[in-house]
Symmetry: C2
C-alpha cells in the first residue's frame, strides 16, 4: 500500500489554514465541487474527524467512508505542498504494473499503448482548446474594443476592420472611413466632426469602458475570485508543488475567459498574455481529469501544467519555441525532457489552431509581425545598450512602485473596495486615454504601430516624413535632400512625427503611472503588453531621435556606416528592442524573451541587438533588486515558493533551522512498540503536528519511519470499529508483523503498513545550503534531522522559507499567511 | 577546512583502475602534465603513499608536499566521479567569502565584480576561439578536399571555388571549368577527358585520400588517443561528473583539430559536427584554467563545458538556439538557468565569429542554407511520416550494426590494427566513391545539393527537368506541358534526373554500409553528416517520386491541392525531412533537432512536417531499441553514466543493492573514539575502500560521519611527522575537540576536521527508484544505508550502475571496465 499521504507543511504551527481559508472564503464552497473529483470524499472525511463537523452520519456510512478514506491516503489537503518523491514513485509503480501486465492479453497491451499515448492525446487536446480559446478571446476583444468607438451598420457583431472589409466601395486608403462603420457621434448627433461629436464620442467611450470594467470585476468577485490578476505567480507556486484547489478549475476558466475579454476591451492598461497562460493551465488541469494517470498524480499533473503554460505563451505571441523556453525558464519547477518535447508539440498545435482561426487577420502566426529590411550598424549598439539601461531602470522602478501600491492595498482600507477601485482606475484611464491617439488604441495595436517600419502606403502619423508628404514617393527625397547627401536614405521628420513625439512622451508617462495601479487589481491583467508598450514608446522615441540625428548630421564619424544608399536607422527596430528591454526588466526573462522576439522577426540578424538590450536590462534591474515582478508578488502573497534560481548564501546549519528549537519541548515521537492506542490518541490530541516520526524507543530515539497524522487517525478509528478486540489498552506496533503476539492483554494493532519506511534524514551538521539544495532538487516536504544516529528534529519546507526570510531581514511570519 | 576529497567509486573493488589505465596508457604520461595544473601535486602525492612509488624524497620535501597535500584534498583522481553536492557547496563558500569582503575596500569590490563577470568573459573567449577554430577547420577541409581532385595554378593554397572566383574571365555557368584550376590529369597527362585522364584522376584521388587518412590515424595514435571518435559519449560522461584527465587537454585540442581536417578531407564517410563539440569543450576546459573559480571547481567547470558543447553545435550548423537546446537535451547533466543564458551568449558569439570568417562563402550563418517558396499540402504528411518511419528503421539498424561491429573490433584481433583498419576502410571508400558523383563530393556538399530547390540557374544533374532543358526557362513548361494541365508547375524529369536516381540509390546503399564500419575508427568522426546524407538521399528520392507522381497523375484526388498555379512538391523539403528523420533515429534528439532544422530554413512554415518526421522516427526507433547511438557507445565503453532519461523500473530496495551483501563480511567502519592510530592504519592496510563511515561504537553502529581514505592517510602521516607525541598507540578521536584528554597515555589525535559531518543516509527500505532519483538529482557518489538508525551498508554510484545492468540482463562487470 502506498504510504504517502497528506499533511500540513507547518509542523509547529497548526493555525495557518484558518488564515488561508479566509482568502478563498467566497470561492471555496462554490468551486470545490467543480474543480476536483475527489472533493466530495475529502469533505466527507473532513467532517468525519473535525469536532465541529457538518453533522454525524450513521455507522454504516462511516464505515464506507473509512474504507474509502483508506484508499484515498494519496491525496492532499488544500494549501499544502506535495511530496514529489512519493508522487513520482507512485507513478513508477503504476507504470510498472501496466508494463508487467501488457504481455498477458491483447486488452492489456492496448491499455498499455493507450496509457503511453494518453500524454500526447492530452497535449493535443490542450493545444486545440487553448488555441481556440485564444482565438475567441482575440476576436471578442477586438470587437468590444471597437464597440467603444462605434458600431457597424451591417451587423453590430462586426468589428471595425471586418465591417469595412466587407464594404468594397472604398479604396485602400479610405478603408478607415468606410460608410458602414458609424462612430457613436454619427449615430446619435449625426456628425463626426466638431466639438459636440467629440464630446459624444468621448462620453460613450468612457461609458463603455466603465461598463466593461464593472462587469469584469463584478463577475470575478461573484463567481471566481481566483480569476483575477495575471495568474503567473500562482501558477509558479502550484508548479513548485503547492495545492490551491479551484485555482485551475472550470469556473475559473469560464470566468477568466469572459472577464479577460471585458478587461482588455475596457481599455485598462493591461494585456492578455499572462492570463492566457492561466487559461491554458486551466484547460490542462481540466483535461487531466480525463486520464487516470494525470488525475490521480499531482506530479504528473504538474508536468502537464508546465506544458500548458508553454501553450499559453505560444498562443499569446504565436511563438511556440519561445513559449516552451518561457515555461522552462520562468514558470516550471520540474521540467523533464519528456515534458520539453510534449510542450513543444502542444505549443505548436495551439499556434496552428490559432492561425487557422486567424484572429489578427494577417495570416501570420505571430502577434506583432515585423519585417525589417535594413541591417543594423555597430555604432547602434550604443543606443541599444541605452535602451537596455532604460528597460532595467524602468523594470526596477515598476516593481518597487507596484509592490508599494499592492502592499498599501493589502494593508489599508483600499483593499476593501475592489469594485470601486476598478471603476475609478478605469474612469481615470478612459478620461486620460481618449484625447491621445496613442493611448486610445489598444496596447497591442499601439505596439504593432510602433514596431512598424514605415513603408510607402503607411498613413500613420508616425510615418509622416517630409519627403514623403511632398512627393508621395520615397525616391523624391533624393531631390528634396539635394543640399544633404543625396545618397542618404533617412528622411526628415514631418509635422506629424513631431506631434507624435509629444503624444508618445505623454503616453509614456501615462502608461507608466496607470500600469502601476492597474496591475494587481481584481480583474484579469497581464503585464506583458503594458510593459512592452512603454518600452516600445521609449524605443521609438530614441529611434526617431537617432534617425533625425543621422539625417541632419550624417557627416559625423559615427554615422559613417550610413553613407551608403540604404536606410540607416530603423525606428521600428528600436521600438522592438525597447519593448524587449522593458519586458526583461520587469520579468527578468532572458533566453525566452530573446527567442520570442526572434520568432517575431524571424531572422537571426537582430539577435545581437536583442541580446545586448535584454542583457543590459537584466543586469541593471538585478543590480537594483533581485526579484522579478512574479517573485515579488509571490513573496507579497506569502506563497511557499522555494525559488530555484537564488542561491542560499548563509552559513547556517540544519540544527539552527530544525524544530524543536533548543528552548522548545522535545520532539513528539511515537515508539515502534510499547505505546497503547490510548497513548497514541493522546499524542494526536495534544499536538497539531501533521506527522510523527517513529523511533525505536524513547530512550534510544533511533529513526524507524514516519507516520502521518491523517493516516494514523483513519487507521485507528477504522480498527476500533472493524477489528475485533482493539480497545484503548491495545498495543500499537510499528514492527515487522512476524513478531509473536504477547501473551495476555488485548490483541495489538500493527500499523507498519501506513508508516513511511524511507524518510530522508540528514545530520544536524549539514550546512543549510546543501539542505536547501536537497529540498529543491528532490521536492521534499520535510526532512528528519539526526545527530549521531539519534533523531533530533525535523525541518519542513516552511521552516526553510521562514529561515530564508529571517536571513534577508523579512518577517518570517509572512510566509504562508495572507 | 573543506572535507570533500577524492576516492574511488568502486567501494568493494579496488582493481578497476588498472584496467582503466590500460585504455589511456600511451597518452597518460604525455598528457597529464599538460592538461591539469594540479597534476604535479597529485602525482607527487601518489608516489608518496604508493609502495612502488617513483623514489623517496627527503623529509623536508615530504613535509612541504604534505602541507600542500592538505590543501589539495578537494581534487579528484583520474577516472573518478565528482561529488556535485560538495563541489557546489564549495563554490557557494567561495562566493560568500567574496561577497562578504566586497564592502571592505575598493579592491575587494573590484575583485567581486571581476568574479561576477569572469563567467561572461570566459564565454566570450570560448565563443571567439571556437568560432575561429571552426572557421579554420572549414577552410582547411575545403581546400584539402579539393586538392584530391586538382590544384590551383594561382597558388596551391586556393580551393577550387576560390581559385575560380579570382579568375574573372569566365561566366557564371562556366566557373566550374575555369582555366586556373587544373585537375591532376590535366597537370600530368595534359588532358581531362578520356580513359587515361580518368584513371590518373582516380588514382590520385585514392592516393590523397589514403595519405590524409593515414596521417590522421598516425597522429591520433602517436599524440592524442583521446582525439578519436566523435567525443560526444565521453563528453556526456564527463558532464555527468566523471573525470577523464587529458580528454579535454591542449594536446587533444591540437591533434583533434588537425586530424579532423585530414579525416574529413580524406573522403571517409564522417562529419565534423560531433568532433566540433569536442573541440569547443577542449577550448572551454583550457580557458577554465585562466579563472580560479572554474579551475578549482569541477562542478563550475562542467557548467562551462555544457555551454561549450552548445557552442560546438552552434558553429557546426550555424544554429545557436538549436545548439543550446542540443546541450540541454542531449549532452548536459546539470544545466542551471544561468548556464542556459550564458550558453546562448557563447553560442551567438561563436556563430557570429564564424560568420565573419565566412568559410561557406555564402554570407549565411548556417551550414545548409535553404529557402523554400512553396507551402506544403496536408496530403504530403503521409510521405513525411513514411520518411520518419524510414529514419527510425535506419537509425535502429545503424545502431545495431555499428554496435556489433564495434564489439567485434573490441573483442577480436581487429582492434589491434587500428592504422591498417583506417587505411583499408579509406581505400574501400575512395575506390567506391570516386565513380559516383554523389559520393565523390563531400558529405556536406552532397546534403546541400540535395536540400536545394532547383532554380533556373542550377546546372546540377538533379535539376535536369525536361521542360527546363528544352526551353531554358521555367515558363516554357507551360507550352511543353500543353497536353497536361497547363497550370501544373511540376515538371517531368529529364534523363539527368533518371541517372541521378540510380546514382543516389547506389550512394544510399554505399553510405549506409561504409558508415557502419567508419564510425568508431581511431580517427575523429562525427555521425551527423553521414546520417543526414543518408536521410537526405532517401528523402530526395521519395520527393522526386512524389513530384513525378503529381506531374503524371495530377488528377488523382490526393493531388487536388496541387492544381493551383504553384509548384506542388518540393523534393528539397523531402530531403531535409529525411535528413532530420535519420539523424533523429540515430541520436534520438527531438526538440533540438527540430530547432536546428528550423534555424536552417528560418520559417515556422515547415515545423509541422519536421515534427511529424522526427516524432515518427523517434517512436519507431525507440520501439526497436531504447538507446541512441551515444548511449550505446557509453555502454560499450562501460563509462559510469547514470542516464537521466531512463526510469528505473524495478521494485528492488536499497538493502538489495548496498554493500556488504548478506554473505559478505560486515562493513569496515571506524569508531569515533577508542581506536588507536595503529588500529586505524590496520583498517586502511587491510581494505581497499576509498572511504570509511565513522560510527559511535562497534556495538552501537550509529552514523557520525564519513571519512576518506586519502584524507585519513595524509592526516595520520602528517601528524606522526609533525605533531609531538603521536605514536602508534595514540587514540584517534572524531569527537568534538572540547573533550578532556584522558589521563595517562600518549596524546590523542583528533581528526574531526577531516570528517564529512553531513553524509546522506537513507533507510534500507528505501525503494531503488527513489534511491536512483536521489543519486541523479543530487549527483551523489555514495550514500549510506541505515536500519532503525544503525549503519548497515553503503551504496555507490557504481553499485547502482551494476545493479541496473543486472536488472536488464547485462554483465554487471562491464561497468567501468574497458
Amino acid at each position: 500500500m502506498e504510504t504517502s499521504g497528506f499533511y500540513n507543511d507547518n509542523y509547529s504551527s497548526g493555525s495557518s489554514d484558518d488564515d488561508l481559508v479566509d482568502l478563498s472564503a467566497n470561492a471555496q464552497d462554490l468551486l470545490e465541487d467543480l474543480s476536483y473529483d475527489e472533493q466530495d470524499h475529502s469533505q466527507a472525511e473532513a467532517s468525519l474527524f473535525s469536532p465541529g463537523g457538518r453533522g454525524q452520519n450513521g455507522t454504516a456510512k462511516l464505515l464506507d467512508l473509512l474504507d474509502d478514506g483508506l484508499h484515498r491516503v494519496g491525496t492532499y489537503d488544500d494549501f499544502n505542498t506535495i511530496d514529489w518523491v512519493r508522487e513520482k514513485s507512485k507513478d513508477r509503480d503504476r507504470h510498472r504494473e501496466i508494463n508487467n501486465k501488457k504481455r498477458q492479453s491483447v486488452l492489456d497491451l492496448l491499455l498499455s499503448l493507450s496509457d503511453a499515448f494518453s500524454g500526447w492525446l492530452l497535449m493535443l487536446l490542450i493545444g486545440l482548446m487553448s488555441g481556440a480559446l485564444a482565438g475567441g478571446i482575440d476576436i471578442a476583444a477586438h470587437w468590444l474594443t471597437d464597440l467603444k468607438e462605434g458600431v457597424c451598420l451591417n451587423g453590430f457583431w462586426f468589428n471595425h476592420e471586418h465591417c469595412c472589409w466587407n464594404s468594397k466601395e472604398t479604396t485602400f486608403q479610405e478603408r478607415d472611413k468606410c460608410p458602414n462603420w458609424k462612430s457613436w457621434a454619427e449615430l446619435t448627433v449625426g456628425v463626426n466632426e466638431g466639438a459636440s461629436a467629440y464630446v459624444v464620442n468621448y462620453l460613450l467611450y468612457v461609458t463603455w469602458a466603465l461598463l466593461f470594467a464593472y462587469l469584469a470585476v463584478v463577475l470575478v468577485r461573484a463567481f471566481a475570485p481566483y480569476a483575477c490578476g495575471s495568474g503567473i505567480p500562482e501558477i509558479k507556486t502550484i508548479l513548485s508543488g503547492f495545492i490551491i484547489r479551484g485555482y485551475l478549475g472550470k469556473w475559473t476558466l469560464v470566468i477568466k475567459t469572459i472577464t479577460l475579454v471585458l478587461a482588455v476591451s475596457s481599455g485598462l492598461s493591461l494585456g492578455k498574455e499572462g492570463p492566457l497562460v492561466h487559461v491554458a493551465c486551466c484547460c490542462g488541469n481540466i483535461f487531466c481529469h480525463l486520464f487516470t494517470k494525470y488525475r490521480k498524480n499531482e506530479a504528473k499533473r504538474r508536468e502537464v501544467l508546465s506544458a500548458a503554460s508553454a501553450v499559453g505563451v505560444s498562443v499569446a505571441f504565436g511563438a511556440p519555441i519561445g513559449g516552451v523556453l518561457f515555461s522552462l525558464e520562468e514558470v516550471s519547477y520540474y521540467f523533464p525532457l519528456k515534458t520539453l518535447w510534449r510542450s513543444f508539440f502542444a505549443a505548436l498545435v495551439a499556434a496552428f489552431t490559432l492561425r487557422s482561426i486567424n484572429p489578427f487577420g494577417n495570416s501570420q502566426l505571430v502577434l506583432f509581425y515585423v519585417e525589417f529590411h535594413t541591417p543594423w550598424h555597430l555604432m547602434e549598439l550604443f543606443p541599444f545598450v541605452l535602451l537596455g539601461i532604460f528597460g532595467g531602470l524602468w523594470g526596477a522602478f515598476f516593481i518597487r512602485a507596484n509592490m508599494a501600491w499592492c502592499r498599501r492595498r493589502k494593508n489599508t482600507r483600499l483593499g476593501h473596495y475592489p469594485v470601486l477601485e476598478v471603476v475609478l482606475v478605469t474612469l481615470a484611464t478612459a478620461l486620460l486615454a481618449f484625447p491621445n491617439d496613442f493611448t486610445r488604441m489598444s496596447g497591442s495595436h499601439l505596439i504593432s504601430e510602433l514596431f512598424n517600419d514605415c513603408s510607402l502606403l503607411d498613413s500613420s502619423q508616425l510615418c509622416d516624413y517630409t519627403s514623403q508628404v511632398k512627393g508621395g514617393a520615397i525616391n523624391n527625397n533624393l531631390s528634396h535632400g539635394a543640399n544633404y547627401s543625396s545618397s542618404l536614405y533617412d528622411r526628415a521628420a514631418g509635422p506629424g512625427v513631431y506631434t507624435a513625439i509629444w503624444q508618445l512622451a505623454l503616453a509614456l508617462l501615462f502608461k507608466t503611472l496607470i500600469t502601476v495601479v492597474t496591475f494587481g487589481m481584481k480583474v484579469p491583467s497581464g503585464l506583458f503588453i503594458p510593459s512592452m508598450a512603454v518600452g516600445a514608446i521609449a524605443g521609438r522615441l530614441l529611434g526617431i531621435g537617432m534617425e533625425q540625428l543621422a539625417f541632419y548630421h550624417h557627416d559625423w564619424p559615427i554615422f559613417k556606416g550610413c553613407s551608403s544608399s540604404t536606410k540607416c536607422i530603423t525606428p521600428g527596430l528600436y521600438a522592438m528592442l525597447g519593448a524587449a528591454a522593458c519586458l526583461g526588466g520587469v520579468t527578468r526573462m532572458t533566453v525566452s524573451l530573446v527567442v520570442i522576439m526572434f520568432e517575431l522577426t524571424g531572422g537571426l540578424e537582430y539577435i545581437v541587438p536583442l541580446m545586448a538590450a535584454t542583457m543590459t536590462s537584466k543586469w541593471v534591474a538585478d543590480a537594483l533588486g533581485r526579484e522579478g515582478i512574479y517573485e515579488a508578488h509571490i513573496r507579497l502573497n506569502g506563497y511557499p515558493f522555494l525559488e530555484p534560481k537564488d542561491e542560499f548564501e548563509h552559513k547556517t546549519l540544519a540544527m539552527d533551522v530544525m524544530r524543536p528549537r533548543r528552548s522548545d519541548p522535545s520532539l513528539s515521537v511515537l515508539t515502534q512498540s510499547g505505546m497503547s492506542v490510548e497513548q497514541v490518541e493522546a499524542v494526536i490530541a495534544d499536538t497539531s503536528y501533521s506527522g510523527f516520526p517513529v523511533v525505536v524507543s524513547q530512550e534510544s530515539p533511533r529513526l524507524v519511519g514516519f507516520v502521518l497524522r491523517r493516516d494514523l487517525v483513519i487507521s485507528i478509528d477504522s480498527a476500533r470499529l472493524c477489528q475485533e478486540g482493539i480497545v484503548g489498552a491495545s498495543q500499537v506496533l510499528f514492527t515487522e508483523p512476524t513478531l509473536t503476539q504477547p501473551h495476555g492483554g488485548p490483541p495489538s494493532l500493527n500499523l507498519r503498513s501506513i508508516m513511511d519506511l524511507s524518510p530522508l534524514a540528514i545530520t544536524d551538521q549539514t550546512p543549510m545550503d546543501i539542505t536547501v539544495d536537497i529540498f529543491r532538487k528532490l521536492g521534499l516536504r520535510q526532512c528528519l534531522v539526526t545527530q549521531n544516529g539519534r533523531l533530533l528534529g525535523i525541518i519542513t519546507k516552511k521552516d526553510i522559507l521562514k529561515h530564508m526570510a529571517q536571513m534577508t531581514n523579512r518577517d518570517p511570519e509572512s510566509i504562508l499567511f495572507n
